[in-house]
């Protein structure tokens, strides 16, 4: 198993009496793209800010590359690229801003790679950033995060404000980073993106990490929905099987969500004359909503 790049143990942040995150145990391994999912206010940004030492944990620990995020923050951030969820930039020219970042990082940036990033994102860096649209500001943030080819990328909603073509470019950049063996911590609530690029996903709700699983496994274990067409109306009591949830029932048409006991269900309804069966695939988004639909014991 690859060594952990990010490791939190019992990470807890309280804002006064209000909880940010609670007892988060998280491990992100080298070379993986880890999706961090959750709705607004779930604790995604709080976790990332602790990793960057913008805020300090109330209790617990957070480490990157085996170093403590608070005490070794400078050494850690030397190897980290970050796009904040609410990106704010100074008013200066984008080129001057990027130059400043390069100098602060000790000039460990390939100018040709920086130029290629700007070209791929179609970013004109000669203008002052206060004149930029939201999308162009986001592009500056992406170039700033990627240009030094950091060992770890912490991306908070990186495609926010971008048009679909540029969104795809960003996802390509994430894939290229992974191909280079670099690690990406990808926070998002756009599940199709997470599904497209992430190896594993962590789901956070109300400040608690409720599930960490491989995207592949999550999708493989996802709930299945069946749409059945019968040749006669089906009595509701026939559909009452543990592990089967009726989503729609319209006389001879039924849609059910199957968690278990599919064989028992089919045995009960088969005598009604099944004319057609259609399997409805759930997207990661629907799986995600299923987790959020119930309590943590639902997982």
């Amino acid at each position: 198993m690859n060594k952990p790049v990010i490791e939190t143990k019992g990470l807890t942040v309280y804002y006064g009496k209000h909880r940010g995150v609670f007892a988060v145990d998280l491990t992100v391994r080298q070379g993986e793209v880890f999706g961090f999912l959750g709705p607004n206010g779930a604790g995604k940004t709080t976790t990332q800010r602790v990793l960057l030492d913008v805020i300090r944990p109330t209790s617990g620990t957070a480490a990157i590359f085996g170093m403590d995020c608070q005490h070794d923050g400078v050494a850690i951030r030397q190897r980290v690229g970050y796009i904040p969820g609410e990106l704010a930039l100074p008013g200066m020219r984008a080129s001057a801003y990027l130059d400043m970042l390069v100098s602060v990082r000790g000039n460990h940036t390939d100018p040709a790679y920086r130029r290629s990033l700007c070209e791929r994102l179609n970013l004109d860096t000669s203008r002052k950033m206060r004149e930029y649209s939201r999308g162009n500001k986001q592009k500056v943030g992406i170039v700033a995060a990627f240009m030094s080819k950091p060992d770890l990328l912490i991306l908070d909603e990186p495609t926010s404000g971008l048009d679909p073509l540029v969104q795809q470019t960003v996802l390509d950049l994430v894939r290229e980073a992974k191909a280079d063996g670099r690690t990406v911590f990808f926070s998002s609530h756009i599940l199709s993106e997470v599904q497209a690029v992430c190896d594993r996903v962590g789901i956070i709700r109300d400040g608690e990490l409720i599930k960490v699983e491989k995207v592949h496994d999550l999708l493989a274990r996802r709930l299945h929905r069946l749409r059945l067409q019968f040749c006669m109306p089906v009595a509701p009591e026939l559909l009452q099987v543990p592990g089967i949830t009726v989503i729609e029932h319209n006389e001879d048409q039924v849609m059910v969500e199957v968690q278990e006991n599919l064989d028992l269900f089919m045995t009960k309804v088969a005598p009604q004359g099944i004319v057609d069966i259609e399997t409805v695939e759930l997207s990661l988004e629907e799986v995600f909503l299923a987790y959020y639909g119930g309590g943590s014991d639902h997982v």
């Binding site: 309280y14 804002y15 006064g16 913008v54 109330t58 209790s59 400078v74 801003y97 400043m100």
Partner: protein, 281 residues
């Protein structure tokens, strides 16, 4: 670090030019008008007029130097207002704008970020005063004959520069408040209250016997303003302001070192957080 300081200075270019030109125009106007104004004020008993008293103007304009000295004293008040604004913007303002979070994601220690801002503020305040001094240079030749023998350009230069320690003290106080209090408005409120309240108290207390002894507790007591033109520089008072600025800068370093940036909570919220965690556990 050097590039960070340059970037901090670039952020302030427009404000520095604006404040410098504005204050410079005021200083130019005072010097230009003083030869004509002085005779008109000569026979007035200013100590009997409350508004003059509140602004510390109690002596009659016996000379052109005296008149310039009195009006130049407003320079300290004006530059201190800019100092409070730029001091609160540096950390608290950028925290609220969101740019501080981006800056903190770079491989910089927190003390480096604060140091870059302290240096940039110090230079910015100095440049505002130097631009303002150009106001004297613009009009001095035309009124030189009337001022000759009483005020020199060198004296005007030192009287302008003498406001820098006072401005630094207010800037560092505001920087500290920005790092200590939850929001920029809180820091701005404290800075402006100390500034305006302290200015008025210092001037009024000078006339009121029982309160006079309290003046050393207020910053403007240590600011000579235009009196440099008539009484010379008091290095002791300048030293007090520089020391106060240094203390506030250190407090800003310490407060920012402990701050949860982007959170905007009161300093004691960390204690509440600890007890909340214990309750949860």
């Amino acid at each position: 670090m050097f590039n960070l300081i340059v970037a901090e200075l670039k952020k302030r270019v427009t404000a520095v030019i604006g404040w410098g030109v504005g204050i410079g125009a005021y200083l130019a106007m005072i010097v230009a008008m003083s030869p004509d104004l002085a005779p008109q004020f000569a026979n007035l008993d200013l100590s009997a007029i409350p508004i003059y008293k509140a602004f510390g103007i109690t002596e009659n304009f016996l000379s052109i130097a005296n008149l310039v000295a009195i009006y130049v004293s407003f320079l300290g008040l004006t530059i201190a207002i800019y100092a409070v604004i730029t001091g609160t913007s540096a950390l608290a303002g950028e925290e609220e704008d969101g740019t501080l979070e981006t800056l903190m994601s770079l491989p910089l220690a927190r003390w480096q970020i604060v140091l870059a801002k302290v240096v940039a503020i110090a230079i910015a305040l100095l440049v505002v005063l130097l631009i303002a001094y150009l106001g004297y240079l613009a009009v001095f030749p035309s009124v030189k004959a009337d001022l000759e023998g009483e005020i020199t350009l060198a004296e005007l230069f030192w009287s302008t520069l003498e406001s820098w320690p006072l401005a630094m003290m207010f800037a560092m106080l505001s920087l500290f408040m920005g790092a200590y209090l939850p929001r920029r408005n809180h820091a701005l409120g404290v800075g402006l209250t100390v500034l305006i309240g302290g200015y008025l108290f210092n001037n009024l207390a000078e006339q009121a016997g029982p309160l006079k002894d309290l003046r050393p507790f207020f910053p403007f007591y240590y600011n000579l303003g235009g009196k440099v033109l008539t009484e010379g520089v008091d290095l002791g008072k300048v030293g007090v302001l520089v020391a106060a600025a240094a203390i506030f800068a250190v407090l800003a370093f310490l407060s920012f070192q402990r701050r949860d940036v982007t959170v905007g909570t009161w300093p004691w919220s960390r204690l509440l957080a600890k007890s909340a965690v214990q309750t949860q556990e």
